[in-house]
Symmetry: C2
Subunit: 170 residues, 2 copies
Amino acid sequence: MDLTTLFKVTYGMYIVSSKKGEKINAQLSNTVVQISPDPATMLISVSKNNLTHEFIEESGIFTISIVSNKCEMKDIGHFGFRTGRDFDKFKNSEYVLGKNGAPYIREKMIGYVECEVIRTIDSDSHTIFIGIVTDAATLNTDLEPMTYDFYRKELHGKLSKNATHYQEEK
Amino acid sequence: MDLTTLFKVTYGMYIVSSKKGEKINAQLSNTVVQISPDPATMLISVSKNNLTHEFIEESGIFTISIVSNKCEMKDIGHFGFRTGRDFDKFKNSEYVLGKNGAPYIREKMIGYVECEVIRTIDSDSHTIFIGIVTDAATLNTDLEPMTYDFYRKELHGKLSKNATHYQEEK
């Protein structure tokens, strides 16, 4: 069995945000798909180790910002490499609080999708959250989405140990 | 709410196959993601209208072939546009039966991932199948995966009414 085949599954790059009371947090993610068309529902898979996981469980909402390939590591890297437990990830980012109270970023982002959790599925190390889309908007129509492949090859983005497809170097 | 924002979510292209007794069938899909790393699990979303849905429910297995961007419409189109109810989709394709009994295609494909269903989640028009990976292999190491965006723009691929992100033209 050659599990490196799984690296050829295609993903985009996203910032998944949520809130807990007055606090906000977000994480970099590639595991975002639409699950059904009408009503539109989105699925994300989040590591139980992540603070955003705790926030989504608590608030029942999340927002997906679609990262464009104009983003550089300085725009998105801190959402992936650091934990929001001891660092305010939004300190140096201009953000907007959406209708659901979670933050999204306008600059260099394609758009955002706000979701309300309708189902939570335990999946060992990760939880699958399925959310119904409650709002969505395109912010920059001229940008193209960043793929995970681009993130790895062009930005030399590293893989978090909490990623859904993490494999130890052999 | 602008649901066209959802078109900017990035997907790859896959042939998802299954079996029912001696019968085999497959469909074109873009909704494939890895959900957790260890054990490796994959998630697919399949329209209840599709014959492959019936086959996966019955056999409890499915195989994902990862489509490369060397594929042309003649290689993959018939998996998307026609139903296996009145047409043998594999008639003109060279295929191999994997360990789980479902077919995969070698030519112009990057590799395949065999899965055994461990969870089935009802999602209105679609069913989410989560499968544990039972086998995987890379077939052509020099190929790059086809993205859904490439399929739409370069191959002028149409969107099935059963797709997870189908929206009526407005």
